[in-house]
Point group: C2
Chain length 353, copies 2
């Protein structure tokens, strides 16, 4: 008999925060990025099921499953732009990893924080392969919930130590400056996107709202820049002017999904793009020369959540930063589910009804 | 500020058992059946997304989402026939209900036990509309994990008080007899399917294994019988001889799914079937006369899980039979996810990394 077949470890929001703090944010992002890259490199071994979306007037609830044949994972994630009005997050998420051989869940985790981390780690992994050599200065347009994670991931993986921040709400920029102080950055709080992109090697766009649809116009982007476009991630939501796309070499996670959700929804369905895994494995070139504009059109893909859950599972042992959930019925005799209920009644104080 | 936005009530296996015992198994099944029927009656208001299956050599992992526009629900369920060899359940499940308006989960629950209950409740609801009047004797072929739940649901909803049990493994039958003693049944443990179906008004087939593909042959089924076919529920797995189907009026949950998974996978794709909700709403006839054979070709559908989660949510208040999971990040300022981590570091004993 295998002990405790009924228990599934659960990482709460509080435990996730403690795990990130104990490991250290930058180390967490670096190690997570290695898992993300490892899984991108074995791209063809994944079952890439399309995400399953349930749309409503106010938002969307999605299930994002994937499997490598040994481990299965899925993420539940919502997107409700009006949520912030009532003090809720626009996006919340949780995820599950399971053993493909027996279908039993082996980990459940909050994924609101973890998604922020994996998105930043994925951006930095992409930039490691695409950004100009010795990039050290990054503009971040949009200083909301994702901004600090992006900054720290680029510091950890590429050594970016100069930030130029801009948000239409100066309070967001100030929050970002405050949160990133004493972490080895030289930070400029800028008053416009034009000012923020001056001298930047990398431009990260990570705005939240649909209505500011052209964050970057063509004249703002000079030769040799890497654009990390994170905020355009659903149908109708884009951040870059189409002319920038036409001048860029475009890299995506999973083409069929990005055609629908990414910046390239502005382009013809056959506009050439390169999948990131192809660059990592050498199957396709990355940055051609120092003058090219590279664009990572990031929308987030199920394998990245899978990588993140896999990483959390691997670092969790011995930390105590989880609780065991009694989630799976585990009768002594698998065919005797009803008898298990009867025994619970006899053992407890509850009289069987 | 709405308090405790981060918390999601979770019903563990132990809490579910206690909830069932406190309410009483038969009352739980009756009340649950009312929810199932209520949702069948508003069938057309549901978003009936197909289930998302990830198949492997040893089994399948499925996500079954649905929504009525106000509430969203999904179930995670695996099916791994070889699991019992190592003391695991063939099927385990858990589920989530969410608020469509903001995407936040409002309930997470074990669903291994709950699925057994909802399957039995659905069978009994169907029989209430289809079985011959005054049916009081039911044969149950297959005496595994689902058998007792079926027996008690039919007792609660139809007044069935005579059982004729058969399983290829006599130990399964004995377990079933033992578990159902002192519950008002007259029980006959039979040595063959032929013996079990003698005098039965209703025949429930609920066997587990693919290899016994013809549990019922044509000669076993007389006029006026209602067949509740529960065990044939995936491609390649059926329990009834095709000739029985040809003599029966067939009722299904959701035709597109049952064509693939149910007994009717043995029939032509245009063989006439009636959806259960049509009978309930009067849109289609049920049992035509006392001589007809009616067949409920049950495979289980997402709305039934939705009904079950909805019922559990409604009866949970005040019981204390749940624990609050810290599952959703809830920063004071929605854009300040990173700051929430920093504050956790300052408040806890963990030094920020």
């Amino acid at each position: 008999m295998i002990p405790n077949l009924n228990l599934v470890p659960f990482v709460s929001v509080d435990h996730m925060m403690k795990l990130v703090l104990r490991i250290g944010v930058e180390r967490f992002l670096s190690e997570l990025a290695a898992y993300v890259e490892e899984d991108f490199r074995r791209w063809e071994s994944f079952d890439k099921t399309p995400r399953v979306a349930s749309h409503s007037a106010d938002g969307v609830i999605e299930l994002m499953p994937t499997s490598d044949g040994r481990i299965y994972g899925f993420k539940y994630v919502n997107g409700h732009p009006k949520n912030t009005r009532e003090g809720r997050q626009t996006v919340t998420a949780f995820g599950v990893l399971s053993d493909v051989a027996n279908g039993y869940p082996v980990l459940m985790s909050e994924m609101t924080i973890l998604t922020a981390l994996r998105t930043a780690a994925t951006s930095a992994v992409a930039a490691k392969h695409l950004a100009p050599r010795d990039a050290s200065c990054m503009a971040i347009i949009g200083n909301g919930a994702q901004a600090e994670f992006q900054a720290l991931a680029f510091k950890a993986l590429l050594g970016v130590d100069r930030l130029r921040l801009y948000d239409i709400d100066p309070a967001a920029t100030q929050k970002c400056v405050r949160n990133l102080q004493d972490r080895g950055f030289e930070i400029a709080a800028c008053r416009s996107t034009e000012e923020a992109v001056e001298g930047a090697d990398i431009i990260t766009t990570v705005t939240a709202d649909k209505q500011y649809a052209t964050i970057l116009t063509d004249n703002m982007v000079g030769a040799g820049i890497h654009i990390n476009a994170v905020g355009g991630d659903c149908p109708g939501k884009t951040e870059l002017h189409r002319d920038i796309l036409l001048r860029s070499d475009i890299f995506v996670e999973y083409t069929p999904q990005t055609r629908i959700e990414g910046e390239i929804q502005q382009l013809a369905a056959d506009h050439p793009v390169t999948e990131l895994w192809q660059v990592m494995t050498g199957a396709a070139p990355g940055r051609a020369d120092a003058r090219r504009i590279t664009l990572f059109d990031s929308v987030g893909f199920a394998t990245e959540d899978f990588s993140a859950l896999r990483y959390v599972r691997d670092v969790l042992a011995g930390t105590g930063l989880y609780q065991d959930l009694d989630m799976l019925a585990d009768p002594d005799e698998p065919r005797d589910l009803f008898g298990m209920i009867l025994r619970a009644g006899r053992e407890g104080s509850v009289s069987p009804g």
